[in-house]
């Protein structure tokens, strides 16, 4: 076992090295930026869980417009559990993710039977009906005003998780854990099956793959992680309102994913990170932000249809040519 781990480390030394550097940067980062920027980083970590879990669903071929409402499911579940029933955060976290997953499983039964544009529209309707429930039923969801007084998570008495830096670390650990699980899933047999369905559902079916089951599974697992993102958001805002999980947020999610790309695991992460930083840089130009964003996205779609993740592939042949000219062996 130890030998296998050592071999894995040696084989993947470059990546592990980079990850360790990234981890070190993320650990010291909150002490190098302003308080406000720590708050932005917390939201960014939550958004990273959201985009990666969204990509997990897209690997089966469908783009779900119910993903943000699923995040809302997690947020509402934790609000009801912690503020309403006094359940501790640490129990509420997996339970609320599970609540989103159960809701997704129920909805996935009809949704998994739709494909392409039909899935797109059906998932939008499913998400909207969820939002309608939150606004219509004042008890227990609080109607349009939502739910407030969501408690701050407790973690030993000496750690105040209402402060930005401790909450950043909480979000960082949970995000890392979620990404690790989703990464392992992406590289597992189940992950490969998801991608096979996306490439050719009929061929997959002919090979004995239960396409409907795997689509339901992807939708449920993706929604579980969206629910976890919702929990982190609710405990940072101390309140949930239905408007938070509306179509505008879904639109942002789609933009991040289109910009970053969905073919690779890191594509959507690149998208959300770059666009969040860009959005912060452009904050003083608020009137022009939609136009600048729109231009960037149109240009991306024209010149890099695979999103930012495609940049690497574009530059590899060029780098190889440079190496060849320098007398080195091209890397493959």
């Amino acid at each position: 076992m130890i030998r296998r781990i050592l071999v894995y480390i040696v084989d993947n030394f470059r990546w592990i090295g980079w990850l360790m550097i990234l981890g070190a940067v993320l650990i010291v980062l909150p002490y190098m930026v302003r308080t406000y920027q720590v708050e932005v980083l917390i939201l960014l970590l939550i958004d990273i869980i959201l985009v990666v879990s969204f990509r997990l669903i897209t690997t089966t071929g469908g783009w779900s417009l119910a993903h943000v409402p699923m995040m809302g499911c997690g947020a509402y579940a934790t609000a009801l559990l912690t503020a309403g029933l006094g359940v501790p955060f640490w129990i509420s976290l997996p339970l609320s993710g599970l609540a989103a997953a159960v809701m997704a499983f129920i909805l996935s039964y009809p949704l998994a039977r739709t494909t392409g544009f039909a899935f797109f529209v059906a998932s939008f309707a499913a998400g909207d009906s969820l939002r309608l429930c939150w606004t219509r039923f004042k008890t227990p969801f609080g109607g349009h005003k939502g739910l407030t007084n969501i408690p701050v998570p407790e973690f030993f008495s000496s750690v105040d998780l209402s402060a930005p830096i401790p909450y950043y670390y909480l979000a960082l650990v949970i995000t890392a854990l979620c990404l690790l699980i989703m990464f392992r899933l992406d590289r597992s047999r189940i992950g490969h099956t998801f991608k096979a369905i996306s490439m050719n559902a009929d061929l997959s079916r002919s090979l004995g793959i239960n396409v409907t089951f795997y689509k339901m599974l992807a939708f449920t697992i993706g929604s579980f992680f969206a629910g976890v993102a919702g929990v982190l958001l609710a405990h940072r805002l101390w309140a949930v309102v239905p408007a938070q999980f509306g179509f505008v947020t879904t639109l942002y999610l789609l933009v991040w994913v289109v910009f970053g790309g969905t073919r690779t695991f890191h594509g959507p992460i690149l998208g959300v990170v770059v666009l969040t930083f860009l959005s912060e840089l452009l904050k003083p130009l608020f009137e022009w932000v939609p136009m600048i964003f729109g231009t960037i996205i149109i240009l991306t779609l024209i010149f890099f249809p695979e999103g930012l993740e495609g940049l690497g592939h574009r530059f590899t042949p060029w780098l190889d040519r440079q190496r060849f000219a320098a007398g080195d062996e091209p890397r493959h």
Binding site: R34, Y36, E39, L43, G143, A239, A243, T249, F286
Partner: protein, 416 residues
Amino acid sequence: MTRKVWMGLALLAVFSLFSLGLQEAWAAEETVKIGYCAPLSGPAAAWGLPGLEGTSIWVDKVNAAGGLKVGDKTYKIEIVKYDDEGDGAKALVGVKKLVLEDKVVAILMLGGATTPPTQPFLSKEKIMCFVLIASDIAPDRPYLMDVTDNFPAYHLLHTEYIADAHPKAKKAAIISQDDEIGLAAIAWSEAGFKAAGIDVVYSKAFGVSTTDFAPIITAVLEKKPDIISMGASYPEFQALICEQAYTQGWRGIITSACWDFGAILAKVPKEFMEGAVSGFPDFDDPKLTKDHHDFWAEWKKRYPDHSFSEIVWEYMGALDVWAYGAQKAGSVKSEDVFKALKAADTVPHSFGPGKWFGKETFGNDNLLVPTWPITEIHGGKPAIVAYKNLFDWLKDAKKKQILFDTLKAWNIKTYQ
């Protein structure tokens, strides 16, 4: 006394005067910051962006006059902007930046969806927050105030005016979008019509994603209303509602919380809107004061191509109230200003002296209510036709009971 001593004394006097002057100059340079956290981009930008026009005129005027004198000090005013995009999470990040980093002493916000996530933090920090939606006022939001817009309370006055001015109008239909603002508008309008003796024949919310108003207006017109209230329908809905009502041949009295005439008149002729009732005059209205007219002239000069809406002046109106409170308190500290404002019997509002209201309806007396103008559209422009006062309306116990019964029926919490 020798000449040297005289010289020394003279030098000392000059130095003292110089340092006093320096001190005064220094005091004048002191700056107080006010936060402006509202949607400045995205779909809700129309509720935030025009407000910057009014606030910038206000700030330039105060600073050009040397600053705002508060107690012994004179402060320059600076508005620190943050675009919350109408999103709760971004609004929370924004108010934290404004309070903790920029050290603002008060924040101007739109209200609505951004209020629940931001209020726990602002209440904890005891920072005054001025919003444009009175129904955001709540007992657990002590420092949240609405000192300009009287939505949804002014619906009671609009409906009373319609009953007075159009005694033949006996049936009203009310529609607005299905969200917190829309439902509040429907409930308060319904109470107003009922109290005025007008029969409410249709009172329903439509979905916020509605794009086709034909079936809704058909259902409304089936009830043969003399009045159609658009409640607090968003500008994009107003144009579509008016277009449908006009196309289906309806003629009558239209009323709404506010208008976007540019959008409406692109769909229907000017004559269709003649006599429509609301409560927001243009600031060149002859019945308004010189201050209003001066503001209008300056605004027209700076933004000749922009259209005027209540958003242009309402955030600025909040700055007026804040400045009054600061001068009264002799301090710019949020809690002192708040206490000074609440201790005042009347506080100057843009439309005249206002009194605090809201304990029974919102759980806190944090809504500033002046005598409110009623406008009618004539020749495509709003004109003040009357003034009405909410406190006068509430003096009638029967009317008041109708209000609370209707709010209860619409599942709107009250604190009677």
